[in-house]
């Protein structure tokens, strides 16, 4: 599947992105391609520029120079809303869920279907149930407040919302941070399934073991540059570690 999609055009292409914060050069000309149906992991030490890159892609901050192409279209200026409307959806680390509202309302938050003046509750519950089932997220009752769910289930709700928002490329920032073993396994399975279903996935992770489990490609960043992008089936963890630390240069 992966080989097939790699032949086609990338869904997201960034070219020579630079970004400075005052004197600090956070990104020094970064280029990257992401395909639908593929899990791309971005790894790197703290301060390598991963989060800055992700924020530029999702429109939260604007690059100093460089181009962003989404679905073959060059983007002039991205903001969170346009980025979302082009199909790029970020699942934030804090998940941005409303704990006192139930699962269905969280999935539809901000885009509730209306029936005249009122929210179409029937449709919300029906469609959420369908979405949760399609994603194979295990949530026994969608009328339960999100605050009562486990970490993995909450992640599932956030993913369901991202997809419902029309996301084709989903960006995860440390999706399994602060999660137990069983929970993270579920989340990784979900991410893999997303790629199999034809969504593009970018994950930022510090956990190389997980990265090698689920990613098709690994993009290694170091000090604002991309050192290399390698296929996980043609590389091993030691190579990646030495690229992250810079030992490969020596």
């Amino acid at each position: 599947m992966n080989d097939k999609t790699s032949d086609s055009n990338p869904f997201l292409k960034v070219k020579n992105i630079t970004k400075n914060f005052g004197n600090i050069k956070a990104l020094k000309g970064v280029s990257l391609e992401s395909y639908l149906g593929e899990v791309l992991a971005i790894v790197g030490d703290n301060g390598a520029g991963k989060s800055t890159l992700i924020k530029i892609i999702s429109g939260v901050i604007i690059q100093d120079s460089g181009e962003i192409w989404i679905n073959g279209e060059k983007q002039q200026s991205l903001n969170p809303r346009t980025s979302l409307s082009k199909g790029i959806s970020t699942v934030y680390q804090d998940l941005a869920l409303v704990d006192t509202c139930d699962v269905a309302y969280n999935i539809f938050l901000g885009r509730e279907p209306m029936k005249g003046l009122f929210i179409d509750k029937k449709r919300i519950y029906m469609e959420s149930k369908q979405l949760i089932q399609n994603l194979e997220i295990h949530i026994p009752n969608i009328k339960v407040p999100v605050g009562n769910l486990s970490g993995g289930q909450r992640q599932g709700v956030a993913v369901a919302r991202a997809i419902h928002q029309g996301g084709k490329l989903l960006i995860f920032d440390e999706p399994t941070a602060a999660m137990g073993l069983v929970e993270s396994k579920r989340v990784l399975k979900l991410i893999r399934k997303l790629a199999e279903d034809g969504y593009g996935v970018i994950i930022i992770s510090h956990n190389l073991q997980q990265v090698f489990q689920i990613a098709h490609k690994v993009c290694v960043m170091r000090q604002g540059n991309i050192v290399d992008t390698v296929r996980t089936d043609e590389s091993n963890m030691n190579d990646v570690v030495s690229m992250i630390t810079g030992a490969a240069d020596i």
């Binding site: 969170p80 809303r81 979302l84 934030y92 941005a96 869920l97 409303v98 704990d99 006192t100 509202c101 309302y105 938050l109 901000g110 885009r111 509730e112 209306m114 003046l117 009122f118 929210i119 509750k121 009752n141 009328k143 339960v144 919302r161």
Partner: protein, 320 residues
């Protein structure tokens, strides 16, 4: 099946507790005094509770969204004085009412605008407007009450339609609108979501500032309605009317199970809480117990009820 039923029942647990308290008090007081459960006294209780119901419905939305509005007592006085001036200037009653309500909503808009767009703490903003509005009301009236209104206006406070007084009917109507707004519309949904996680709501593309301002406008409107009822009932617009009413409204909302931190609330429960407070006041007055005891008892009941529900909540979280 049983478990599903329990989950379905969970949101109504607090309401059942409130209803239990209400019935318990009604039964006790009616045993002591035979006058309590008469039709005219029930009407009396509802008539007195109607003001607090109207105020508390607006306050429910504000507290749900994680805010507070201390200015409603002052808005009551301002609204009644403004419409009184209008009526004294021979303006049509309907238009005078309309002007009063617009002014009330204007104060609400000012509160909401300062809170959302300037990011000032709601407590500070509404504490200031409480003072500003009261001061302005006293200034424009020179501290003197205005009295003597057309019949069409006083009908609002003391007229009856069928069995019920006008204020009771208005209170029912406001409650109904509140229930629909909170439970079935985006406005209500966002009020709750805002109180729980405003950032999440903003990231979902919702203009939170707009909705927050609307919430305070609604609260202003409710206090405006209450203000008109007060001046219609007394046939007097009193610049010092409504002092301390904000505390009663907050008490009713809190007793109704709305979380002061926001993110949770129910208009129906607020309504029941107002009835409970109404029954306490009326019952104690019938039993000719001093009003000092009334205040004491009201405070204790609120504290015990809320503590009980918090305690249950905490135990539920601990045991998972």
């Amino acid at each position: 099946m049983n478990k599903d039923f329990k989950i379905a029942l969970q949101p109504y647990r607090y309401r059942i507790l409130l209803l239990f308290i209400l019935f318990f008090m009604v039964i006790i007081i009616s045993f002591i005094s035979s006058y309590f459960l008469t039709l005219s006294n029930i009407k009396n209780i509802l008539d007195q509770a109607s003001l607090y119901i109207i105020l508390s419905v607006g306050m429910t939305f504000v507290i749900c969204s994680g805010g507070i509005d201390l200015s409603i007592g002052s808005v009551i006085a301002l609204t009644s004085v403004i419409s009184a001036f209008a009526m004294k200037a021979d303006v049509n009653v309907i238009i005078a009412i309309f002007i009063g309500l617009v002014v009330a909503m204007g104060v609400g808009f000012f509160n909401g605008y300062m809170i959302s767009f300037f990011g000032i703490n709601p407590f500070i903003v509404t504490l200031s407007t409480m003072s500003i509005v009261r001061g302005a009301t006293v200034l424009i009236t020179n501290g003197r009450p205005i009295y003597g209104f057309p019949k069409a206006f006083t009908y609002l406070g003391s007229g009856t339609i069928g069995f019920f007084n006008c204020p009771i009917l208005i209170a029912f109507f406001v409650t109904l609108i509140g229930v629909i707004l909170l439970g079935k519309t985006r406005f209500g949904n966002y009020s709750i979501a805002m109180g729980c996680n405003e950032e999440a709501l903003r990231r979902s593309g919702v203009n939170t500032n707009k909705y927050k301002t609307l919430i305070y406008i609604l609260c202003g409107l409710c206090s405006g309605i209450a203000g008109l009822i007060i001046s219609a009932r007394l046939n007097t617009a009193e610049p010092l009317a409504g002092i301390g009413y904000e505390m009663n409204a907050i008490a009713a909302v809190v007793l109704g199970g709305t979380d002061m931190k926001g993110g949770k609330g129910s208009v129906i429960d607020t309504f029941i809480a107002c009835l409970i407070l109404g029954v306490i006041n009326n019952g104690l007055r019938i039993l000719s117990i001093s009003s000092n005891y009334q205040q004491l008892l009201t405070g204790i009941i609120i504290l015990v009820t809320v503590a009980l529900s918090e305690y249950k909540q905490r135990r539920k979280i601990k045991t998972g």
